[in-house]
């Protein structure tokens, strides 16, 4: 039986894996200790559980457990990673390089630092969503302390050339920070071979609980330090104070362990479903897949259906299918996705986009249902669209003088 509603918004968050929940449960009631309590068994148990999770997480990304700093999530990790480097390496320089398609937690952190005296270069991306490595190389300066480029994009799923980025940063003596929320647990990420110095990621995008994340901070070649952004008891090697979220961390560890063992199988299954969905939807006239198809997460597809508006489109099936649109019709600004605009898409195509994010529990039956629902709604709305009618009549829509409101 097809179970509705269908969840296709896995870039936003994932459901917890039942195995993760099971691992967490004892740490709410029986083993509730504070991992920082050094004098009794409750504390020791909690500390042991945290250490075990730290190891599970470190193994997923090829790190040493000591290099894992627990945070409340990736927004905190991005803040700590970027602000922490800016403060710690202030004597070395004040220049940061990032890109225009980063998550707001990175962009707004950089904007905040600009007010404090940082110089920030925002690299434009190419039409396929990838940064241009030559532009990165050209942007490097003697004062560059940090290159902050995401591993994979949350809206279009494109995977940046992290190895090359890491190498360029290293060559110029800068650190490489990456927001890897969308990548860790989904595709192989290895901090050594990828040349990553600092990396933020989070549990709830990989079938773990919300409210817990981690910052990888390299300890060797080079030894990296970040200035704490929260003052207190000096937990997490002094980089992040605050009582550890033990059940959350246990769940994060279990989620990382499962991701490592199930990744190859999950990827094979999910990418087949994604391709089936994408190939079927591409059969509709005037549809465009956004982002480089060869360098892309296996579970993401972002498609613009020209001449229909994304939110109107979603309304055709949103009681049955949950997904996101690049249209921002509900926001006060009425601005569509800045990521899609950064690819050079016109606002009209950005308004017409849907993001499909498949996951571990997505079934073929759900994908078949989605293909039909989306196709039917696109065709129905085009019959209602004045732009589609003009397009069919051969009228150049771009040549019309529209009154912007």
């Amino acid at each position: 039986m097809l179970k509705l509603p269908i969840y296709l918004d896995h870039n936003s968050t994932t459901p917890m894996d039942p195995r993760v929940l099971e691992a967490m449960l004892p740490y709410f009631l029986e083993n509730f200790g504070n991992a920082a309590s050094r004098n009794h068994s409750f504390g020791w148990q909690a500390e042991e559980a945290v250490d075990y999770a730290r190891e599970q997480i470190a193994q997923l990304i090829g790190a040493d457990p000591k290099e894992i700093i627990f945070t409340s999530g990736a927004t905190e990790g991005n803040n700590l990673g970027i602000k922490g480097v800016y403060e710690m390496y202030a004597s070395k320089g004040n220049h940061i390089i990032t890109s225009t398609t980063e998550h707001k937690a990175v962009l707004d952190t950089c904007k905040h630092l600009e007010k404090l005296g940082a110089e920030v270069t925002y690299l434009e991306v190419q039409p396929d969503g990838l940064i241009d490595l030559k532009q990165l190389e050209a942007a490097m300066k003697p004062t560059t302390i940090l290159v902050a480029i995401m591993y994979a994009n949350n809206e279009i799923g494109v995977i940046q050339p992290v190895k090359e980025i890491g190498a360029i940063a290293k060559k110029h003596g800068a650190l490489f920070f990456t927001d890897a929320v969308q990548a860790v647990g989904k595709i192989p990420v290895d901090v050594i071979s990828d040349g990553i110095d600092i990396m933020s990621f989070t549990a709830h995008k990989m079938y773990g609980p919300k409210g817990v994340g981690a910052l990888y901070v390299r300890r060797k070649n080079p030894r990296v330090k970040v200035t704490a952004q929260i003052d207190g008891g000096g937990h997490e090697r002094g980089m992040r104070s605050g009582t550890l979220n033990v059940p959350g961390i246990v769940g994060f560890g279990k989620a990382a362990e499962i991701a490592k063992t199930d990744m190859a199988g999950d990827t094979e299954r999910v990418s087949k479903l994604r391709d089936k969905l994408e190939n079927a939807l591409k059969l509709i006239d005037e549809t465009y897949v956004n982002g480089n198809p060869a360098h892309r997460l296996p579970h993401v597809s972002n498609i613009s259906f020209k001449y229909v508006e994304g939110e109107g489109l979603m309304m055709g099936f949103n009681k049955d299918i949950a997904l996101s649109s690049g249209s921002a019709c509900t926001s006060a600004s009425l601005e569509p996705s800045y990521v899609l605009k950064a690819l050079g898409l016109g606002d009209d195509l950005a308004h017409s986009s849907l993001r499909f994010g498949l996951g571990r529990y997505t079934t073929e039956e759900q994908i078949d249902f989605t293909i039909k629902a989306v196709t039917d709604t696109v065709l129905k709305l085009r019959e209602m669209s004045p732009l589609w009618e003009m397009f069919k009549e051969g009228i150049d829509i771009d040549a019309i003088q529209w009154a912007h409101h």
């Binding site: 508006e309 509900t330 016109g346």
Partner: protein
């Protein structure tokens, strides 16, 4: 954000989707909005020369559910009205009828603008001066 039942109803079963002959002297066409803003409405009225009544109204809309519902409802209200009555349709009446939330008020504004643009198109075609309107409520 949840849509009201009336918006869902107009979206699922829109009234008066279609196209009237824009070249006809008895038809007024209003095309408002912009693709970059995510809404474009085309609203058309057909006016009976003898009675001055709007005998038919059609729309096509590119936009969200609230934009589609606003234009669908507007065409329903237009039919059977005189031009003078049609001019008086206020966007806030659409907002009230459809229970549009504040972020969707611009959809109703667009529908009101479309009505006025259609009326002016009709007037100009028939040798009458364009009406000048004050800004509607945003």
């Amino acid at each position: 954000m949840a849509y009201s039942n009336k918006v869902i109803d107009h979206y699922s079963n829109p009234k008066n989707v279609g196209t009237l002959d824009k070249a006809s002297k008895s038809v007024g066409t209003g095309l408002v909005g912009a693709p970059e803003c995510g809404d474009v409405m085309r609203l058309q009225i057909e006016v009976d020369e003898a009675t001055g009544l709007i005998t038919d109204a059609k729309f096509k809309t590119f936009g969200c559910g609230s934009a589609i519902a606003s234009s669908s409802l507007a065409t329903e209200w237009l039919k059977g009205k005189t031009i003078d009555e049609a001019v008086k349709i206020d966007n806030m009446d659409l907002v009230e009828e459809l229970s549009l939330p504040p972020v969707k008020i611009h959809c109703s504004v667009l529908a009101e603008d479309a009505i006025k643009a259609a009326i002016n198109d009709f007037r100009v075609k028939n040798g009458l001066a364009e009406l000048v309107f004050e800004q509607s409520h945003v």
